[in-house]
Subunit: 192 residues, 2 copies
DNA sequence: TGTAGCATTGGCCATATGGACAATCCGCAA
DNA sequence: TTGCGGATTGTCCATATGGCCAATGCTACA
């Protein structure tokens, strides 16, 4: 059974990598098996079918990809620090990380597959919650405008970061510095 | 030639509709032809191939879908009006519009197809530009915090709206009202 | 009326894909 | 050693798909 689990995991890893590299729909069970180094018949044995394998692989990879931002939100000392770090990561080419392509592929698929959408929606919810806590802490310290609802700010920041990610993937020329300056300025409540 | 153009257009329309309904990769040349009411051989005659047809259909549909927001940005009296209108449209179920699914499908594909990505990036650029003009007008009127760069605010708003769209598609339960209140409050420079 | 050129049509084919399955292998306990 | 159950392997098959093309239709113009 030890060996069986290893083969299964190899298939999952190969599937996740291929989703990011070639796109969800271009992935074939044969390509997955080839990359995993197992015969393609193994797919039928270890999974219900292609959909089952891809769903599980994508969900696992997505959880892994979202762990970093979630940890950052939970550990960051301030919203400004979180935003600056994320903007810097974007600017430094973090978008070339295969995980970004994988996330986009999974998000698209999730819109059509509820078994994929629901858990991802829950993860997004957790992320917004961690962010809201951070916002609240900043507001109490006076480091962030206090007259706005913390959960709203958190939802807005989460949407902003993902939207910027999307725009950057579509237009790598986009300069994020003005946007970063504007957001940080607005959140700090700069005097007019 | 009149008839030829009509058949061609029917194929484009059918392709765009199917992209939104079934997803890019599930679209087949036969399904397109069937919906257009023409034999499947017509695809080979009027287009270079499936990729060519899908690309042209998606680009046309995307341009059409982006026309409304662009016009709104150009005609809106203020940023607050634009945002309120967009948030209201989201909340009213604008996300069930097939155009939303089509946009997401096209965006995903554009990441892998430069012939699709480049023109869409240009459209996004135009949208940000129209938005920046609106922001500048608001800043001059004093209706919007003036100490932040207008192009940055525009890029942030554009990203925010698209990011929120994405989050809402993934999680229809998400309440956008707190986010709307937060963003409008921050932009107005509410006193702390 | 004839004909040239574009449009239409449906059949055909090579290919790829997902899945099923029987044969075989392997480790372990009786 | 023997038997058993899970794991592995490669083959086979039904199906769908994209694209090609030859035959046919149609219309405008000479």
């Amino acid at each position: 059974m030890e060996q069986g689990a290893a083969t299964r995991q190899a298939l999952l890893d190969a599937a996740a990598a291929l989703i990011a590299e070639t796109g969800w729909c271009a992935v074939t069970t044969r390509a997955i098996a080839a990359r995993a180094g197992v015969p393609h018949g193994a797919v039928s044995y270890h999974f219900e079918g292609k959909d089952d394998l891809l769903r599980e692989a994508a969900l696992s990879a997505t959880r892994q990809a979202l762990a970093a931002p979630l940890a950052l939100a939970a550990q960051a000392g301030s919203v400004a620090e979180l935003l600056s770090g994320t903007f810097a990561w974007y600017a430094a080419g973090g978008l070339s990380d295969p995980a970004v392509a994988q996330l986009l592929e999974t998000a698209r698929e999730a819109v059509r597959d509820n078994a994929l959408r629901a858990p991802i929606a829950a993860d997004l919810h957790d992320y917004r919650k961690a962010l809201a806590d951070l916002v609240r802490r900043d507001q109490e310290r006076g480091a962030l405008v206090g007259a706005v609802p913390a959960d709203g700010v958190a939802a807005a920041i989460a949407a902003l970061l993902d939207g910027l990610l999307l725009h950057l993937v579509l237009d790598p020329e986009l300069d994020t510095r003005p946007a970063a300056a504007a957001v940080l300025g607005l959140l700090a409540g700069e005097p007019q």
